[in-house]
Subunit: 206 residues, 2 copies
Amino acid sequence: MAQQRTRIQLVNREIILSAALEVFATHGFRGATVDQIAARAEMSKPNLLYYFRRKQDIYRAVLEHTLDDWLAPLAAIDRDGDPIEELRRYITLKLQMSAENPAASRLFANEVLAGAPVIGDFLKTRLRELVHEKAGVVRAWVGEGRLAPVDPTHLIFMIWAVTQHYADFDVQVRAVLGSQVDKPGFHEQTAQAVLTIVLNGIRPRD
Amino acid sequence: MAQQRTRIQLVNREIILSAALEVFATHGFRGATVDQIAARAEMSKPNLLYYFRRKQDIYRAVLEHTLDDWLAPLAAIDRDGDPIEELRRYITLKLQMSAENPAASRLFANEVLAGAPVIGDFLKTRLRELVHEKAGVVRAWVGEGRLAPVDPTHLIFMIWAVTQHYADFDVQVRAVLGSQVDKPGFHEQTAQAVLTIVLNGIRPRD
DNA sequence: CGGATTCTTGACTATTTGGTCAAAACCGAG
DNA sequence: CTCGGTTTTGACCAAATAGTCAAGAATCCG
């Protein structure tokens, strides 16, 4: 009974996680309420608490549910590929994720803004190691003259900042750009603009 | 009596705004509590509510207190200056503000993440106008061949994203970089890295 | 079908939280 | 010092919120 998952359980846990993602992404852990999540999941609060006994449990589950996806694109950067092409792919992938799942980006933003009480360990271990590894790759590329001399870690931060900005600050972007955000081709135009600047910024000059 | 401000009032309002900035910046409006703010301001809750009658009033006051400063650097971009130098100055100034007053940056981040319920109008009017004006300046520079062909609005977004990232995601930056964040010269090194990539990214190529 | 198990929820509790109020403490001008 | 206004706070209230519980409804399995 402990680990057994019925079909209903699988379905309902998914519904809850998806509802909770939206609510936590908008208001953060402290600002979100269990009632809000239950309402969005269209079930009673006690029913929701039947699947996750505490608010914390839902929050942790949502975070874990998203953490791995988040790292995948960075992990995929290949030391043996062409530097500009690898970074183009990385930036494109991150922009795509921000566009397709902005709530995930906002969830992290809220968690980090609050001081990363839950994912602090993750940041200091797995994330840190991965960044150092990939910074090493970039550093090697720079050493071979295949990239302009750039600080590898700050380059990674910059890519995170820019790509996640379009998810986290969507409301601001909309306020400035208006309806054109929803026009087809907007994401491509954004990708084009970001790629132009960043890739030109790191392309080796002679 | 209505508008009269005694010395004590001026002092205490400052203390409250400063305490509230920290709390709202960390937990957002909904996640922050009046008790937390009162504790940080080292006064009783009723005393705090003597100066600001509602939580909303404190929040609005803190936001307004910070909004104008936030726009100043962008407003200072001068069409008649050298494009690269103007943007270097803008980026440097924004990075400096993020370093000196990270709480202000986080306050906005939280507000925008929550859907900008309070500053939504501001974003759609004053911010929008200012961005369009300065985008026009950048567009003119590009037209004159003094900058590489870049989308002006996305350039502004990119600068915001990168500069504010170091304030908003400070915890993450620290997790990855460790204690070196506190070493003297870190901010200069960051500015160097950011300026190198962005400015090279938009410098005209021939 | 029928009994055991799983799922669902109305009603409830304890705690937290935003906000009030009246009275006490404080302060500053005469 | 004294008196009027200002500031401060302990005690309180109502609403919101996390979480419980027992009992009813649905589902599964033989």
